[in-house]
Amino acid sequence: MSEQVMAAAGGGAVLAADGTPLKERLQKTLRRRKLVAAGLVLPLGAFVFITFMFPIVLMLFRSIDNPVINENMPLTAAILEHWDGQDIPGEEVFAALAADLAQARETKEIGRVATRMNFEYSGVRSVFTSTARKAKNMKAPFKDALIKADEKWGEREMWVTLQRMSKPYTSSQYLAALDMRYDIDNNIVMQDEDRQIYVMIFGRTLWISFLVSALCLLLGYPVAYLLATLPLKYSNLLMIMVLLPFWTSLLVRTTSWIVLLQTNGVLNDIFVWLHLIDDEGRIQMIYNQMGTVIAMTHILLPFMVLPLYSVMKTIPPSYMRAALSLGANPVTAYVRVYAPQTVPGIGAGSLLVFILSIGYYITPALVGGRTGQMISNFIAFHMQKSLNWGLAAALGGILLVGVLILYWAYSKIVGVDNMKLG
């Protein structure tokens, strides 16, 4: 055997007893095992792919997918492709438009066309629906007929927008998600000031998530330390108290915060009763950013405590004792010996809480009021109310990229191996 090893070290192929190269032989014997292993993972893999990866890919695709105009206004789209975008297009395009509009009304797709256009150019929804109603009976010259039906057809902006929207893929959703838009010459410019919102909300989402993570760490660290060091009978009780929030529904917990924090709530009543504030000076603690931060910190605290606890539990008390015996005072011993060993727990807990916070939805919706809304609330708004799923997908895509960047940065700085989740 040692000869074979030497031979391998020397670069020559080692042969097995039957003359085949040892490497090949080894691979053959391992292949079966690998196949079995792969077979065992397959159901979960398929499940994750179907329920997780696939929808994400679909969502990302939706953020750039733009089939509505291209499919339902095919004639116009084809001709507009070659338009230079300078002067109002000629009769040929108007004729195509009239035909397309009539056809779209026939197939009942005009509503989708109008909606899609309206996302880009506010107020043109009715231009499309009303013109489409008349399109069937229009006669040449179509240019005059269409402009007579609605003078917006005589505007360059209308045509520029239509040309842009007739391409099958678009970046306009991502621009909108970053408070930008195309101007009339197809340059990318910032959105009008009174419509800029998402960049600010992204910033606020990061800030709230950071705040919640920091608060969770601040509150969770001592609790985790107690949990890890107290005798079993006390630590069990404490553990139940930490886990208790997990066993109550999110809505119940959030609602109890409303009861506690509202202007006529328990906490304000106590402050008034203690004469800390007067009746007129009741503090607004909920339906704002403060409410969001407080309620989210409470809900996410276990996600910080548990990784910290699992790390601290593995740190034997002898480390602290060793540090003391070596002459370090308790504070130095804690800071230099104990705390550094909890870094993997801090990292894991903070990352977990931060990522969970970034996507938080129900709690800010219920207690966030005006200033405590996060990006997920806007994604939900575009999913459920405005039905602008493309914009929702773009917002979600940006959020996803943000989380991935964060994770990448974390693994660069702290190292993923250094993270301990349980």
């Binding site: 509503g111 506010s122 107020g123 009174d194 419509r195 509202q262 109310k385």
Partner: protein, 360 residues
Amino acid sequence: MKKTLLMSTIAAAGILAASAAFAGNLTVVSWGGGYTKSQVEAYHKPWEAMGGSKINSEDYNGGLAEVKAQVESGKVVWDLVDVELSDAVRGCDEGLLETIDKSILPAGDDGTPATSDFLPGTLTDCGVASIVWTTIYAYDTTKFPGAKPTTMADFYDLNKFPGKRGLRKGAKSNLEMALMADGVAPGDVYKLLGTDAGVDRAFAKLDTIKGSTVWWEAGAQPPQMLADGEVLMTTAYNGRIFGAVATEKKPFEIVWDGQVWDLDLWVIPKGAPNKADALKFVAFSTDTKRNAAQASWISYGPVRKSAAPLVGKHATEGIDMKPHMPTAPGNFKNALQNDFAFWADHADELNEKFSAWLAK
């Protein structure tokens, strides 16, 4: 072997989908709370008693998102949905809803044909209205020993009535009410809102109470906020306030001035599993008797002219319902109808502006 597996998988999926939309069970989706209760009492129970199919009542939060998801994925499980006017029109335009032939609707009890018995504008291509509801504002009478608010302008007058206000978190009806509070006549509101100056004026008015406003989203919130003392006065759906007054004996008072009224309509998602049955239920539930009966459970006005005189007392509390109807002459003086066409064009832009304004 592979093929059999595939086939059986598809078959299994098919069975699952079929069982979700239980053959014969009519899935009726509405807004929940007291409103759904009024529909259950006035429509569902008599329908089932008459031998109609069993009704599976579900709640949702409005909007077309679920309908759109179902129709686009081809797995429609809802048969009938109660929607707002703008959604009925938009859903119809986008091909998400079935068109409803109005000839199935029975004539009024007084013999008037259905098409003229329904109030103008309450029948659309894809929708049949059942009630008129209103966004009003209300206050707690115990908090106002002296002068009480009586006009929309009072809602915005922090000097005369200092205290917190409640407003729905959204542009719709807030911008209209702000303009009316600023002295714009109902008839001019949407004309003005179509201009940048009008929008700016509405936001400027909203600015005056922004600092003292608590925002609500679900219809159940405003009565709760009033009861908790969280706000002094709040906009709300009139039925919710009436419910709190009638059944919980809350001392709330509705101000009938500058309110915005809207319709709720039945619509059928395209490809609904029990379309024929759903159509029958639409005809049944919107006949004169049923239409009037719902008003004895909640203070939303019937859309049939022939039903108006039949509105009587509350079914359990014995309150005379007529004065509480949004359509009652005394309440209807200075009311504005929500303009669905305006909102179809401008909702995206104005909601964005509203969100940006709100976040600042």
